[in-house]
């Protein structure tokens, strides 16, 4: 889990959502790459973010893309966040005895523009939250920081500031995360992407 490092936060606001991740790609203590965001866009209003082994992250992303295109072909509609969570959770449990070493976060806006955020462990145990979810090597400190800064009913600009602060503060003290950050803000108007300048160490 700590081999590649990394951290991800997803936060819910008022009819909007934000997902943030750091950009480090490391091999234990060695930083190999500085441009590896751990979030992937699934469709118009949904993101999946994963931390853990980067090889498994890439494999799981391809599996999800495959399952989603199958779903949209069969059902002729875009998938809802809750359905994706269930699908993913089942898939992860299928590898009960040789699990994918990733902790997944699913973040998406429902049809009624309410945010849905959920985190899953290696075996697909889901945990929904109306506030925020975190994952990664510095998750303990992120929990504390997000708990402090999160407020209900935040608008997109305020949500962006909050999630950026939390990511920067959380990854500053962790040597396995950081080296830049990226934030996606999902709202009714669409998706905005912003990069963060962080400590490069």
């Amino acid at each position: 889990m700590e081999y590649n490092g990394g951290c991800v936060i997803a936060m819910g606001g008022k009819n909007c959502l934000a997902v943030a991740s750091d950009l480090r790609f490391g091999l234990e203590n060695f930083t190999q790459g500085l441009n590896t965001p751990k979030m992937f866009r699934i469709n118009q209003k949904m993101f999946i973010a994963m931390t853990g082994l980067l090889g498994d992250i890439a494999t799981l992303k391809q599996v999800i893309e495959y399952k989603l295109s199958l779903y949209s072909t069969k059902e002729s509609k875009t998938i809802r966040p809750l359905i994706l969570v269930t699908m993913l959770s089942l898939f992860l449990y299928q590898n009960r005895f040789s699990p994918f070493v990733v902790e997944t976060i699913v973040a998406g806006l429902n049809e009624n523009e309410k945010p849905l955020i959920c985190t899953m462990d290696v075996l697909g145990a889901t945990s929904f939250s109306s506030k925020f979810v975190v994952s990664g090597t510095c998750s303990e400190s992120l929990y504390g920081i997000c708990e402090n800064y999160w407020k209900p009913g935040m608008e997109p600009e305020e949500l962006f500031k909050t999630i950026s602060n939390c990511l920067i503060l959380g990854s500053n003290r962790d040597c396995l995360s950081g080296w830049g950050g990226m934030v996606h803000i999902i709202s009714t108007n669409g998706v905005e992407t912003k990069s963060l300048k962080t400590r490069m160490d």
Partner: protein, 184 residues
Amino acid sequence: MDTVISLIGRNFGILAIDTISPRSIFIMKKDLNKCVEIGKNKYLIVSGLPGDVSQFTDFIQKSVQLNSLKTGIPFSTHSVANFVRKELSECLRKNPVKVNLTILGFDDSIGPSLYFIDYLGNLQRMNYCVQGHASLLVFSLLDRHFKKEMDIKPAIGLLVKCIGVLKNRFLINQVGFFNKNNRF
């Protein structure tokens, strides 16, 4: 462990690979060419456990050839890299192969591209990459002096600097460096 230093410039890529084949404390062969060509203008360097290296290299080379014959479409560097990554990540849970790879290729539409793949299936596209124990010494030098879209003379100068550092400070006497400098 093998040293592979690779970087990408304006319209070319350079690889510097050590040429020794060690067996415990001895040098078995001093002039080994570890660079394998897969398809046209794509180079693969595999390093790791000796048996795994030769088996995996042959497997990838022949699979890529077979696939391009079957489909009639020549593979791009991006697809070769992702194919190798997929094979490695599938092997990881069945019959683990402890090899790290560097893939350098040139495509007409994209230009030069460099990929690094770990034995766990971590794929990373980079502008410059060092593989092996030498990465601890050489990476910071490349971080400092590398610029995007370099010309060939400065790139070779930088490579010579990196090899100089290794000759100075690296424990293993890596006798010669084989330079694959492809002006695409």
